[in-house]
């Protein structure tokens, strides 16, 4: 018994030493500053029309919970270099907010968690979120296709994938790009 307790306590004490990198939610400002360094970022709130909402839903193959869209437009020298959107959705019973940063052509540049109110162990790890980088709106942006699931956090993976598709569809509709 003593041996077991000693091993256990030693493990409890030694593990934290190697911990350093941050994996918790970031603030919007932190994400925007790292994705669009040097750019001027302007906040916008856009209200989707009924027609736009329907079009987005078709493109995203996902429900649009609110026509209120929070987005940030990044400019360098007056030229738009990207747009970032906040998507808030329910994972299991609690909300998660993702800041989904796009390039000017609508491709994903970064997805970061800005709020996660489910137990932390269900939060998508950064390496999993990196799967969305450079993805553009297509049928391949789906779980078990280009996006692999998260072991033990199926609902997190499902809701995040839907969110990215939804944001790319909103951007496509608002910016009037193809697939019309």
């Amino acid at each position: 018994m003593k041996c077991t307790v000693v091993v256990g306590v030693a493990t409890l004490l030694l593990f934290p030493i190697s911990l350093s990198s941050q994996t918790g939610p970031m603030t919007r400002e932190e994400v925007l500053a790292s994705v669009y360094p040097g750019a001027t970022v302007e906040a916008e709130r856009v209200f989707l029309t009924g027609e736009q909402t329907q079009r987005v839903s078709e493109l995203a193959r996902a429900e649009i919970e609110s026509p209120l869209v929070a987005r940030y437009v990044a400019r360098e020298g007056g030229r738009v270099v990207g747009r970032a959107y906040v998507d808030t959705h329910v994972v299991r019973t609690k909300p998660e907010s993702l800041l989904i940063a796009l390039a000017s052509d609508g491709a994903v540049r970064r997805v970061e968690v800005t709020a996660f109110l489910e137990p932390r162990e269900y939060m998508a790890p950064p390496a999993w979120l990196r799967q969305f980088d450079t993805q553009s709106l297509s049928d391949d942006v789906a779980l078990q296709r280009a996006i692999r699931p998260i072991a033990g956090a199926t609902l997190t993976a499902q809701s995040a994938t839907e969110a990215v598709r939804r944001v790319m569809a909103i951007d496509e509709v608002l910016e009037g790009r193809g697939r019309r």
Partner: protein
């Protein structure tokens, strides 16, 4: 008054906005709010100014609503704030955070039809069973950013109530926490992730029932965390109770947190590596005494050290679901334990038992965009379990404890939260007592 109290006054704010107007303001610290720059354009008419002011106010409200929806800003009340709304501080707790209580759950129902004869053609008594295996509610509460409570309350077979886990978690660091309470023992692939929508098969793998006795939970404390694709958990928990061991495994040794004997403690831990999304490999270890001070012969006490380790891997790539696990349990002082338990011959507890499986499934709808979230996954699992792989001197192996299970089935998920599974398991052993079975399962998780 703290700015976060605005939630309470949002309805009033909207009323004011619709009526006589408001003077509140809100700013994002590092970004430009365009509406603010648009106010008071020189030379504009009064109507234009009113319109711009309305636009500005609308933008403020939109920002407020969106921020509140996002869950990014907890709402904090001072005691003065609480008094202002007529509540004592504790009674006002529900106002402090929009996300305090968390409720979720899952359940599974299982129909089993057993073959009329065993391998040798001997008639079997059992025929069919229809069981509401599990109905579970998760309940949690997040006290603040650092502390949370999480629990799983289970009703098993519709009439047995268990607490499967209940712990307080202290999130000391973004990727490190300390928890204490009744904990799921962190071993294997199924024990911690045992919702029916997560594993393939109407029934859990036999290895993860007999060698790893899921759902295995005990009381204890420990740490958990993750860094750079590596996650770990390490707990000190009460040990198993050797009085419950048998020739068919250690499952009966679980204490399930109920007045658990704690003379023999144990260590349980695991490390998992995720080299790429959807791919996981790892190992876990449990070691501790199972004697609990009660296994003694001739005034000599035996620790009955029980060590279980497993190696596991899982890959989920483009509709393919591949899993493999090997688990082995070593039990010290097995001969003495058998003597104390009064077991003889082939009914004894083994010195070593092991089992493993390899399982593959493929979602045939995974590459179809039209299928949406519908998944149809045929699967096959090959499994071998031997609960008497090595017997202590003086005891014999039973020819019926080394079993091979070949399971072929299909699962349908109309949505990701609901699953229907149909499979057939062929069971064989050297004693020719294996009984095949056909299963239909219904599961849900929310």
């Amino acid at each position: 008054m703290g700015s976060r109290l605005r939630l309470l006054f949002l309805p009033a704010l909207i009323v004011l906005y619709l009526g006589v107007g408001v003077t509140a303001s809100a700013q994002s610290p590092e970004v430009t709010e365009p509406a603010e720059a648009e106010a008071s354009a020189e030379g504009a008419s009064q109507d234009d100014i009113d319109l711009e002011e309305l636009q500005r106010q609308l933008d403020i409200l939109a920002e407020e609503v969106e921020r509140l929806r996002s869950g990014e800003q907890p709402i904090e009340l001072t005691d003065e704030d609480a008094r202002a709304i007529g509540l004592a501080p504790s009674a006002a707790a529900t106002y402090e955070r929009s996300a305090g209580v968390s409720i979720a759950g899952y359940g599974e129902m299982l129909f089993e039809n057993f073959a009329a004869e065993d391998e040798a053609g001997q008639p079997m008594g059992s025929a069919s069973q229809f069981d509401f295996l599990r109905a579970i509610l998760y309940a949690g509460y997040r006290f603040n950013d650092k502390f949370l409570f999480n629990s799983e309350i289970e009703i098993e077979h519709a009439d047995e109530i268990f607490v499967e886990f209940a712990y307080v978690d202290y999130l000391a660091h973004e990727n490190f926490g300390v928890r204490g309470g009744m904990l799921l023992v962190p071993v294997g692939l199924v024990n911690e992730f045992h919702e029916p929508t997560v594993f393939l098969g109407a029934e859990r793998p036999v290895t993860e029932q007999r060698i790893i006795p899921s759902t295995w939970r005990e009381n204890g404390v420990g740490i958990h965390g993750s860094v750079d694709g590596i996650s770990f958990r390490a707990y000190v928990i009460n040990g198993l109770d050797g009085w419950g061991f048998s020739s068919s495994g250690i499952r009966g040794g679980r204490q399930k947190g109920s007045k658990a004997k704690a003379s023999s403690m144990a260590f349980a831990g695991r490390v998992d590596v995720t080299p790429a999304p959807g791919v996981l490999v790892g190992a876990s270890l449990y070691t501790g005494g199972s004697g609990q001070g009660e296994i003694a012969l001739d005034d000599r006490e035996f620790d009955v050290r029980t060590t279980i380790f497993d190696l596991h891997g899982q890959a989920q790539i483009r509709g393919l679901d591949l899993r493999a696990l090997y688990a082995r349990a070593n039990i010290g002082d097995a001969a003495e334990l058998n003597q104390v338990l009064g077991k003889t011959g082939s009914s004894g507890v083994a010195e070593m038992m092991d089992g493993g499986y390899i399982q593959v499934g493929y979602n045939v709808l995974s590459q179809s965009a039209e299928a949406g979230s519908v998944a149809l996954t045929p699967y096959v699992r090959f499994e071998k379990v031997d609960t008497q792989a090595m017997m202590p001197v003086g005891f014999d192996r039973s020819r019926s404890t080394e079993n091979t299970f070949t399971t072929v089935g299909v699962e349908l998920k109309p949505i990701s939260n609901v699953v229907v599974k149909v499979d057939h398991a062929w069971v064989t052993n050297d004693a020719k007592t294996g009984v095949n079975q056909f299963n239909i399962g219904l599961g849900y998780a929310f």
